[in-house]
Amino acid sequence: MQPRHPEPILHVDMDAFYASVEQRDDPELKGQPVVVGGAGGRGVVAAASYEARRFGIHSAMPMVRARRLCPGLVIVANRFDRYREVSRQVMAILADIPPLVEPLSLDEAFLDVGGAVRLFGEPPEIGELIRTRVREEVELPCSVGVGPTKSVAKLLSDRAKPDGLVHWPAGEVVARLRPLPVSDLWGAGPRTVERLESFGFRTVGQLADAELRTLQRVVGEALGGQLHQLARGIDPRRVTPSEPARSISGERTFDHDVDDPAELERQVLKLSETVGRRLRASGVAGRTITLKVRFDTFETVTRSSTLPAPTDRTRDVATIALDLLAGLRLERARVRLLGVGVSNLGEGDGARQLTLDTAAEEGPSPAVAARLADPRWERVERIADSVAERFQGVGVSYAALLDDQDDPAEVAPRREDRGAHDHTSTSDQREEPDP
């Protein structure tokens, strides 16, 4: 057995991915402050070029605000299909080199190159090799962090931006982490940072020196333990290739707040359709269905319901989601955003418990689950899926959605929500404005 390389982890992160793709595809945009996102009233910045960032613009910022910061801002509508295509090219390059690649989102991935050192050289050399190939073959800039653990590599790719590589030898990691602000640690979100600072923890070194119990009292058992380890350069998480998605969800921010119950139901149906299709396309099924509603006050509520058996059927997702919506008794509250998600995922196409048709004797109203049982929907949806796949943009859908003028591709995809630690998706699409 070869001894484990001391710093085998690479974090490869594309620089301002969506914006860079747009600048590459349209040379006139080069050197310009460019943002990708919807220009409408509710548009949100999905990605900002470095030129735009100099004006203080960052992703997830309302477009109105971005425009105010930079009057000459160029706003480009997003082209997710294009980004996906480019992402595939980038991931293909990554897959060429090391044995382990864990894509995090469209534009970033972890690599464990420990096994590739003999063939390709030391990890920083491999990092440079990747950067060169991405620059030459895809014509896009990326940054690479090289370190002993995932969290350190991630931190370093951020410090390498734009278009650079930073490498910390394992022996120096602990000392170099110490002066950094706590917000640099993976898992320390704004709230956590605020809380830590209010207790006087400002630097990573202070966290490392703190007693574990104290830290756990401040930020909670799990997170306290995790931050304590990360502060000491310890991160046991391995690079796991193609970690399966934990949830599949879609959400949509409306151009104008919606208070019409019928319209809300239609939107839930539409989101359910998107989510159902993606469940089936990924070959997974989930038991927990979650509805998310954000009001015009920005107050956000989520409601979820867990089924006895996993489903990948649009109809099941929609039935539950609509029921959750009805349960909120919105009374014409003004809704800004709706989301539908399915979690508690397992293999969808694997074994599935079949059910008896016990719905027959039930009255129409009370039992939601009763409506789930009809297995014919499964066939209907598979056929609808294959039609949608063959005739792009045509598709078979619910009659209630037929007069819908919106482009179905518009529902923001949120794949692979990987749990609490992943707050990495700076350029990942979270909110989807209308074009």
Binding site: L307, Q353, V368
Partner: protein
Amino acid sequence: MKLRAERTEFADAVSWATRTVGARVTLPALSGVLLEAVDGRLTCQATDLEVAAEISIPVEIDEPGRVLLPGRLLAQLVARFPNAPVNLEGDADRVEITCGRATFHVRGMQVEDFPTLAAPTEDAAQGVLKADAFARLVSQVARAASTDDGRPVLTGVQLDASDGMLTAAATDSYRLAVRSVAFDQAVDGVALVPARSLQEAAKAAGEVGGNVTVVLEEGQVSFLFGDRRLTTKLIEGSFPNYRALLPDAHETTVVVDRAGLSEALQRVAIVAMGQANTPVTLHFGDGSVDLQATNQEMGDAAEALPAEIDGEGLSISFNPAFLLAGLDATGTEQIRIELRDGLKPAVLKPEADGDDERIDDLTYLLMPMRVS
């Protein structure tokens, strides 16, 4: 109130009545047991709003009265009393209990707060059957009821009394168990009883023995065991038409040793367990049942055992826990499995061994798992 009771009878009565009293209650009064002394009898009752338990015992009454005492406390006390007569004396606020040299003062709760479930009316229709047959019926059928409150009607057991038979049916939509037993004294009626309450009644039937009287009324059903009574509310809504779910034909009949299949299934299922929804696949053909389970993370397991197979061979997959529950319910040495194809429900039945063995009229229908 002032009375004297025999210790064993009093302890039994308190423990019977407090069977419904849980550790946590939504209303304080639900933690209490109501003692009512009148006409030479002491009646103890408690309820969790779904089930009410009541028992009456003969006592010597000097002064009639009613008190509501904390149930679990009282049950714990009387279980440890020495073997001597028990004296209760006091009013609704405070009761002195003495037994031998021990004296306790227990604070009473507001009697008015106690929610009394209606006792069965004198002229309500009553059926009578053997307590042990009733207990067995419930244990075989109630296991198929759902535990998911999302669909209340499936958490119940449908009791259907007609033509001198009591038929119980339960389904969680993955399996269905149905069985009938004969009444000694028949009654007609239908009741959808919460499975949990019915299991409580079956447990009581097992303890008390003798006969059980079933009283069917609007909105509630009562089970009487001599001086003891359990009354439970019914589930509203209509139970699925389960008779329509029973297949009217099958292609393949299997007769197999129940214990052998059950043990093989448990061994093979070890691989499947730990990962929800991992099926065990059974292949029937050439005089044997081949069991097989695969778990991508842990490995696989296979086992074969002899079986009498009549008809085309076929493969079918099941949730092993559901199949085991069915095997367990049938109870006979040999069981019969009726199959149509790998995606249609399988029917498990007890199989008579020889001509004169009396077997239960049990049908356990089980939906397979689809394996792709």
